[in-house]
Symmetry: C2
Subunit: 337 residues, 2 copies
């Protein structure tokens, strides 16, 4: 038997716990070339909200009754594939469930001696790659430029401000609480609380995780030939038809701006280059990360909803079980910053 979290109803506006349901399901047996994996961490990500609208965007939507697929890190319970053994750490897309079966070809083996396994869902995983690709390939940042990141205390944002800084840019970040701002400042990043202050400086690049008012403000502060990395718009996900767009789109012409959207899944070919540059920074502590860990699979919906109210600093993770073989999974050093 396994527990799994399914979509009960398409959320209207802000997702609520009642939009989800925890149910028990029969355990599957792994076939040839497959692995039975027990999840230790499952990921909650803002992009998942876009799959809960009933409309196809760049990924198929969740329908009521579907298990919430997504990134997960766990340990192999039973292996029927070469190269994997019981106890191996793997990253999969098993999503919000205790235990599941995956094709070994789709599992990414992790070495817990290199970095805490949870980082495969955060700073050394999709969120980190998103930050790096957005700055390097989409904005094409240059040393000396001023880079502004909204949502800068989130999983993607906190990687983005620090990568910008490490690559020789002046990094500015905004976040929604004074505590988050303090953390960013402790990293050497210029930071402010967007609820009580606003961007004052001219910028060359805006890494947009938020959309809405922040995008409008950034357009007014971008210098000639400025770029907007359109990564996300968390302020809009629960009300996409709500507030109007920027009133100042005319700046796109007069300042020759480029606004470019991207989806990280198009850029997985860059994963090796990303790890080669960012991995050592994480190992040396030059690039820091935080995780906000919620315990219990049944709390995944609550953790997910918390993404939209700023409950997380850094990567939001749900700890489903304790790792059987490696205590680092139970107490990632990063929880305490």
């Amino acid at each position: 038997m396994t527990r799994e979290v399914v979509l009960a109803a398409v959320p209207q506006g802000m997702p609520r716990e009642s939009d989800f349901e925890v149910r028990e399901a029969a355990g599957a047996e792994p076939g040839d070339g497959e692995l039975l994996v027990r999840n230790v961490f499952v990921s909650v990500d803002p992009y998942m909200r876009g799959r809960m609208t009933g409309v196809r965007t760049y990924v198929a939507p969740f329908a009521p009754g579907d298990v919430i697929d997504g990134g997960a890190v766990g340990q192999v319970v039973t292996s029927r594939a070469d190269g994997f053994a019981e106890g191996d750490w793997v990253q999969t897309m098993l999503g919000w469930r205790d235990v599941g079966v995956v094709a070994a070809a789709s599992a990414n083996k992790l070495n817990p001696d290199v970095a805490p396994v949870s980082t495969a869902l955060g700073v050394l995983g999709m969120p980190g790659l998103t930050a790096w690709v957005g700055l390097v390939d989409i904005a094409r940042i240059e040393p000396g430029e001023t880079v502004y990141v909204s949502g800068a205390a989130g999983a993607v944002g906190s990687a983005a401000v620090q990568i910008a800084k490490l690559k020789g840019c002046h990094a500015i970040g905004s976040a929604g609480s004074d505590e988050k701002v303090e953390w960013l400042r402790s990293l050497g990043v210029e930071a402010f609380n967007y609820k009580t202050a606003q961007l004052e400086k001219k910028i060359d690049v805006y890494f947009d995780n938020v959309g809405g008012d922040q995008l409008e403000l950034a357009l007014s502060k971008l210098d000639t030939y400025g770029r907007v990395v359109a990564c996300g718009a968390i302020s809009r996900y629960n009300d996409p038809a709500g507030p109007p767009g920027p009133r100042n789109m005319g700046f796109v012409v007069t300042k020759r701006l480029r606004i470019q959207g991207f989806i990280v899944t198009d850029h997985f070919a860059r994963f090796g280059d990303f790890l080669a540059e960012v991995g050592p920074w994480v190992a040396s502590g030059e690039l820091q990360y935080r995780e906000t860990i919620v315990d219990g699979l049944e709390n995944a919906p609550k953790a997910f909803a918390g993404l939209f109210t700023g409950d997380n600093t850094g990567k939001m993770l749900v700890r489903v079980s304790l790792g059987a073989c490696d205590s680092r999974a139970a107490e990632p050093p990063s929880v305490t910053g």
Copy 2:
């Protein structure tokens, strides 16, 4: 003596004739290396509205009392520079005046045997280059793509739809009257009147001359990896703080769109490449153009205001005087289409 048109007051909203004043001024004498030029055609362009807001954008603003600078085509009256003789046709930035003095180095000599001289202000000048650079360098169009152009019966738009078609794209244009739509259809372009119909098809590229609602609609119709060439926003120039921006900017992320603004003056280095490709199309008639000619320098303000109410089909020009040496200037073949 010469007449010149100056800004009398910063227009509030739609420009009115009373925002301008025609005055007489003493004629200047050309010094060494200079030319005295009598204007035959002066250009009125939508971008000039942006110089009448009192705010610096990418060019300095006009102040009350300033002559309206801009593109002009005329004939040399007195030459004090090598390589120019009385009667030579030149393109200058002399703007809205009868007669003026320019440095020969800033004058572009025209050969009236190659093309009607007025085309130096239209299809073979800045508007044509704008269309070509926007498609080739900014959108990077590929054969087989669907390209939608708003303001498609204007100077830039009518060049853009035809260049897109000549380069193997499916071209769609919108305009504000049935007569303009008929003209576009006669060119083999799919066309509709945006006041009574709307874009229905999926598009790969949107060449935006209009902004506002057209931009919002285009974002919803752009296919994955679509591009917006942000060239102008004529719907907004008289009310920049007015209607809100697109409500659907979220598509920029989910569809990985690129919105890129540009100013043609950054791309003058491409002028030779542009003429090499587009010149022969104009000469052969494969690329057609129209001009809307208003007679009399004193009518320049009225012609200018008419740009914002759709009075023009193709390039709007003011004929200041009849060419002394070449009757083609008086009756450009293009007036009748």
